[in-house]
């Protein structure tokens, strides 16, 4: 069996200065678990300082991608570089922060001690620990609980602590895997602010999420992954160029709704149908078709396509 981590200290793949290298670069990165394809040829580049959203349904290959990039898994094929160095390079990890999806920290340590442990392993100069820890605790709102044992923390507080650990030492690249899964709305807002703060100081952020509104609000670019393949990628503007049309209608059966497939992907929520990518000039034609099928229309609301509309549309197209 090959080694998962090569733990190399190899030179950068090309000779320019470190800053010239993208934060993340992958070429045909693939991963199989037995017969299951977890990731099928991921090729992407995330520039320095960019907030990159990695979207996909559960089991799409998002967490596998992060683990491959961090050297926790060994790729079946393909190559990847972080900050210009091959994945698995020990020294690169000094410049990386990571909040795992499965966040868990030593319950027998206090929050401050957990952060001190990460300062020590990072490793950061001991003289900077106090400032780093105090700043991280303040950023994630745990200053009052600094001396409490992590075992007494709620899940949300543990996730905040994990985020604090990922921020230590001003990393150049931060991986956040579902960073708000255990947080309340206030916590989610705080995380968005933290991500904006990271971007402002030039830190690249790789955000794994299926909370689309969150991604939409903070990401410069996104990639949508499904069944281990990237099915779309680009800036928000590139991805959300279409118009979605929400129609509140009664009196349509499933067979009738199927006849409306010519108007594009439909997000069917009972009486509320959202045509996720429909040009405004086709709205009268749509309404006529619904009425002809016996439907009673109460509301028609064209609006800019949201990331959720586009996401659902992409997944539906992928299944066809």
């Amino acid at each position: 069996m090959p080694e998962v981590i090569e733990e190399t200290e190899a030179a950068a793949p090309y000779g320019a200065t470190a800053e010239a290298h993208p934060a993340i670069q992958t070429v045909n990165l693939s991963k199989r678990f037995g017969r299951t394809v977890a990731l099928a040829g991921l090729s992407m580049t995330v520039p320095r300082g960019e907030v990159f959203g990695f979207l996909g349904p559960n089991g799409a290959g998002k967490t596998t991608s992060v683990k491959l990039l961090l050297g926790l898994l060994k790729p079946t094929s393909g190559e990847a570089w972080l900050l210009g160095r091959p994945i698995g390079d020990l020294q690169t990890r000094r410049r990386i922060g990571y909040l795992p999806e499965l966040f868990r920290y030593q319950g027998w340590l206090s929050a401050r001690e957990v952060l001190a442990l990460h300062c020590e392993l990072a490793p950061l100069p001991r003289s900077s620990w106090n400032d780093e820890i105090t700043s991280a605790l303040e950023t994630v709102g745990l200053t009052d609980r600094a001396k409490d044992r992590v075992g007494t923390f709620s899940k949300g507080m543990q996730q905040r602590l994990g985020l604090g650990a990922a921020l230590l030492g001003e990393p150049e690249l931060v991986f956040l895997d579902e960073p708000t899964s255990a947080l309340d709305p206030v916590g989610r807002h705080d995380v968005r602010e933290i991500i904006r703060g990271l971007a402002a100081r030039g830190t690249a952020v790789f955000l794994n999420s299926h909370l689309l509104s969150e991604v939409e609000q903070v990401c410069d670019r996104v990639a949508v992954v499904d069944h281990g393949r990237v099915i779309a990628s680009g800036t928000m503007d590139e991805l959300l160029s279409g118009t979605a049309v929400k129609v509140r209608v009664e009196g349509l059966g499933d067979a009738d709704k199927a006849k409306l497939a010519g108007f594009g992907s439909i997000d069917d929520e009972g009486d509320q149908l959202t045509f996720t990518n429909l040009k405004p000039d086709r709205v009268p034609e749509l309404v006529s078709a619904i009425v002809a099928l016996g439907g009673r229309v109460y509301e028609v609301a064209p609006r800019h396509q949201t990331l959720e509309d586009r996401f659902l549309q992409l997944l539906e197209e992928e299944e066809k």
Binding site: V4, I5, E7, G71, L72, K74, F103, L121
Partner: protein, 287 residues
Amino acid sequence: MPPVLVIARLTVQETSRRRLILALVILTLIVVGFSAWGFHKITTVTNSAGVVLPPVQVALITSQLLIVVTFMYSGVLALSAAVVAGPLISSEVESGLLLSILARPVRRSEVVIGKWLGLAVLIAMYAAGSAFLELAAVDWATGYVPPHPDQLILYVGAEGLVLLSLGLALSTRLSGITGGVIALVAWLMGWIAGVVGDVGTGLQNQAVENVGVISHLLLPTDGLWRGAIYAMEPDAFLATMRAAGTVARANPFAAVDPPPVSFLAWVVLWFALMLALSIWSFRTREI
């Protein structure tokens, strides 16, 4: 501090804060207290003639009882080592605790060696501490001190380290409970195989004797236990055993000869091999 020492410190810290050390200290003090009272009774009981036992007989009985009490200590150590080592890595992989640590500039070999080192320190401390207290109590109660107390501590401690190494190796791949149970069963089977080997020696049957030899090579716990027994046996007892010939060797609580140097060299190599296996196994594990 290098990562390997940070991980070792963390392992000691965890065991301490989970109160395992406190529980073992309290239990040991209770056992030492009871055994001191029991050993003291040997000096006051009378034989069928109504007189107290002569010092030679007190020493002989004490030496034999001390071997049984030490067997209990080595059992506690083996059980603790297996139970603590079994989940040492697997539980942290399953819970995700290691994810954020392995994303730091920390080699997997450093995690394995650090955890081994942390638990090894605790095992050494327990072996030395409990042996010192027990022997001091026996000395106070009966005036008897085994011939080689330093070797006794080394052999019992090494027995704990063998189970720690086995448990840790299993922990790189199996769940904590599975690894712990396998380590414990292996320890018991190793002891039984050692007894079978002794029976072979007693019967002068080479094939049966080889069962013991092979088991000592696969898992050296019983071989080390025999070393601990030898360190506790007074010269007079050893002379009697030797005079009795091969039949006397068929006894799991007696040792006529010290462990050969070649066996002790194998034990050192066994530790190195087991640690190397653990490192390889963990490095190739996908997390």
